[in-house]
């Protein structure tokens, strides 16, 4: 019998089906009067083990050999991603959360910056909550390259042994942290939306959405170090920086591998939007009916200083580029205001925008799921309301 995450003792199973109801992944089914496992669906969450009244299900996890030196790993690190000397906002958000975690764990909080001509950033990172900043300032790190960044961070990990490392779940963070974790042979949880230190085990509890946001999972890395996680931008709030905070800056000089790829051109034009950073999003969906109607959204967005977002349907229909797509297969956004015109609110869409401060939804279907999370939900015809709203905003701006 090959190893499966759990083992069902067919002698003890009475066919009560309690395990089947308990399994979050639908990984158990009845074969006659016995519960049977679909091993490929099992996530080893052990919900069935706890649910079985007859102790017929046992976990098959072997007693793990703990790394002998787990206790040598100390401190919480935040990878402070920077682009051309500009530290990304998510780094400050992570420092505020990292500060809370470090206080709970009773340890130091450090920031790590990789780049070139970046020494100025250390003082900002200390003001934002770091006790210590590791700076690697070398020309090879001026532009992100996966292999070079992986090498740099791994050298620092090997030298200083942090217990926890966090990065923003950005294009850069998600890619190279996955390499770092594999090189360190440790666990990495992607795209977390909540982090805490467990009071009993002192382990990092990492919570993230899965299955398109249909369920949440809390994950930990008990026997490997460092414990690594990427965190969605805009999920945590920044602290107000305190310029009186004291901290140490440590300059590190590393011998790095050569880059395996190089950036030959960077295209940043006015047309390229980064909806993840937007404060106001005017979004539209299938209810717009045709591409031309996006112009109306654009007009409103321009008037109130926002950007246009769309649901997947608009991108699939070829109305607008995927850079504007909000949702699970698009971008996660967290603006102050999210105006949704003609978006019914498939779970994948809601997953990408539910953290917005104020959600205003206009839809002609009173049963549209988006009304379930909207702060202001208006059942109505967007083709009637949108032009009136544009006119109202226009006349207001003129008066001022």
């Amino acid at each position: 019998m090959a190893d499966t995450p759990i083992i069902i003792d067919s002698g003890k199973c009475r066919g009560c089906k309690k395990c089947i109801t308990a399994c979050p992944f639908d990984a158990l089914y009845m074969e006659g009067k016995l519960a049977v496992l679909r091993p490929e669906e099992c996530r080893a969450c052990n919900a069935c083990v706890k649910a079985c009244p007859f102790f017929a299900i046992a976990t098959n996890a072997k007693e793990e050999v703990k790394q002998a030196d787990l206790g040598d790993f100390k401190g919480i690190w935040v990878f402070a991603e920077q682009h051309h000397g500009q530290v990304q906002e998510v780094a400050y958000e992570l420092l505020s959360t990292g500060r809370r975690l470090a206080n709970d764990r009773g340890c130091e909080l450090a920031a790590v910056v990789l780049g070139h001509n970046i020494t100025d950033s250390a003082s900002y990172l200390i003001a934002a909550g770091a006790d210590k900043v590791y700076v690697v300032d070398q020309p090879e790190l001026a532009e992100y390259e996966a292999n070079v960044y992986t090498d740099a961070l791994n050298q620092l990990i090997a030298k200083y042994k942090p217990e926890v490392i966090l990065a923003g779940a950005t294009a850069v963070g998600r890619a190279f942290f996955a390499k770092v974790a594999v090189r360190s042979r440790t666990g990495l949880t992607a795209d977390c939306t909540a982090l805490s230190i467990d009071k009993e085990s002192h382990l990092l509890h990492q919570t993230r959405p899965a299955f398109g946001g249909n369920i949440m999972a809390t994950i930990m890395t008990p026997n490997h170090r460092p414990q690594m996680a990427t965190v969605r931008p805009k999920v945590f709030k920044m602290m107000t920086p305190d310029s009186k905070r004291k901290g140490a800056t440590l300059m590190e000089a590393l011998q790095l591998v050569a880059a395996s790829t190089r950036i030959v051109r960077t295209e940043r034009n006015a047309m390229s939007v980064n909806i993840s950073e937007a404060e106001i999003i005017v979004a539209g969906g299938r209810g717009l009916k045709k591409a031309e109607n996006l112009e109306q959204l654009k007009k409103l967005a321009d008037l109130i200083g926002g950007v246009v977002g769309v649901s997947r349907a608009c991108v699939d229909a070829g109305w607008i580029s995927a850079a504007h797509q909000v949702g699970q297969t698009g971008r996660t956004v967290c603006p102050k205001i999210y105006l949704a015109f003609g978006i019914s609110g498939a779970i994948q869409h809601l997953e990408g925008m539910r953290a917005s401060d104020t959600i205003i939804a206009i839809n002609n279907d009173p049963n549209a799921p988006i009304f379930g999370i909207a702060d202001l939900g208006i059942v109505g015809d967007l083709f009637e309301i949108l032009p009136m709203l544009i006119e109202a905003v226009e006349s207001k701006t003129k008066r001022q």
Partner: protein, 263 residues
């Protein structure tokens, strides 16, 4: 040129439902599909094959029924496929999955020119397996690729970064992850389907790819699931009917905007 594409069979999460009483997934009636992002990766491989001639091998790791997505890949134009399936892989997290797939790739070809993945799978959403495989293969990694051109052992790709496009050059081999800003996937031809239906699909287990038991499945996974729960529901706020009096609705929107210091 030899291109290996890794695809995953996933439940169509657009149709996954949650049992409101038990907060668990209800898989029944939910269609399994090829992960949408992997379709874009496969398309990039097939386009390179069309332009330059290439062997395209598609690998999938999953249960025996994942064979379906491999047949679909063949029907679209893949030359050969492999299903990586073994109970020993059950419970694998991204580290154990990356390891198993890298072992399979090495068995297919120790030196493939390109290994392509979708940006992420829509069930797990981690985007970690492509980069993880690049690490196990010790091959350069380029993520968020939206177009690929190759010539003379080198590649030029456009990548979709958070704030714009980067154009990146390098030498093959490379591992790449592909985004949906790439070309739209082609449809399978009828003759392709007919041929794909008849093909016997090789199945490889942990032993076939020389994977160490301690690095597979649950035992090889550093991360453990502590608990699963339903996402917190945000309850709706004010509801209005704007069908009779749209002007009142407009007033309410304006007020909400002003409360936030806008308009």
């Amino acid at each position: 040129m030899h291109i290996i594409v890794c695809v995953k069979q996933v439940p169509d999460t657009a149709n996954v439902r949650i049992n409101p009483e038990t907060n668990t997934l209800m898989r029944e009636g939910v269609e399994s599909i090829m992960n949408p992002f992997d379709e874009y990766a496969l398309e990039e491989a097939l386009k390179l094959k069309d332009a330059h001639g290439a062997r395209v091998t598609v690998i999938s790791m999953g249960p025996p029924q994942a064979e379906v997505v491999l047949r679909e890949a063949m029907a679209r134009g893949a030359d050969d496929v492999v299903l990586l399936t073994d109970r020993a892989f059950a419970g694998a997290d991204t580290l154990a999955t990356s390891y198993a797939i890298a072992q399979a790739i090495k068995k297919v070809n120790a030196k493939p020119d390109l290994v392509l993945f979708g940006k992420q799978a829509i069930d797990g959403d981690t985007a970690q397996v492509g980069p993880g495989v690049s690490e196990f293969l010790n091959v350069p990694l380029v993520t968020y690729v939206k177009s690929i051109t190759v010539s003379d052992g080198t590649f030029t790709v456009e990548t979709q970064m958070d704030e714009g496009v980067d154009v990146i050059e390098g030498r093959m081999p490379a591992v790449m992850t592909v985004v949906k800003e790439a070309s739209a996937p082609r449809f399978a031809s009828l003759s392709g389907w007919m041929a794909a239906k008849k093909t016997a699909i090789p199945r490889w287990g942990a032993k076939d790819v020389g994977a160490a038991a301690a690095m597979c499945g649950l035992d090889g996974s550093p991360t453990k699931v502590v608990k699963i729960f339903a996402p917190p529901t945000k309850t709706g706020g004010v509801r209005m009917d704007g069908r009779e009096e749209p002007s009142a609705a407009v007033e309410a929107i304006l007020k909400a905007l002003q409360d936030k210091g806008v308009a």
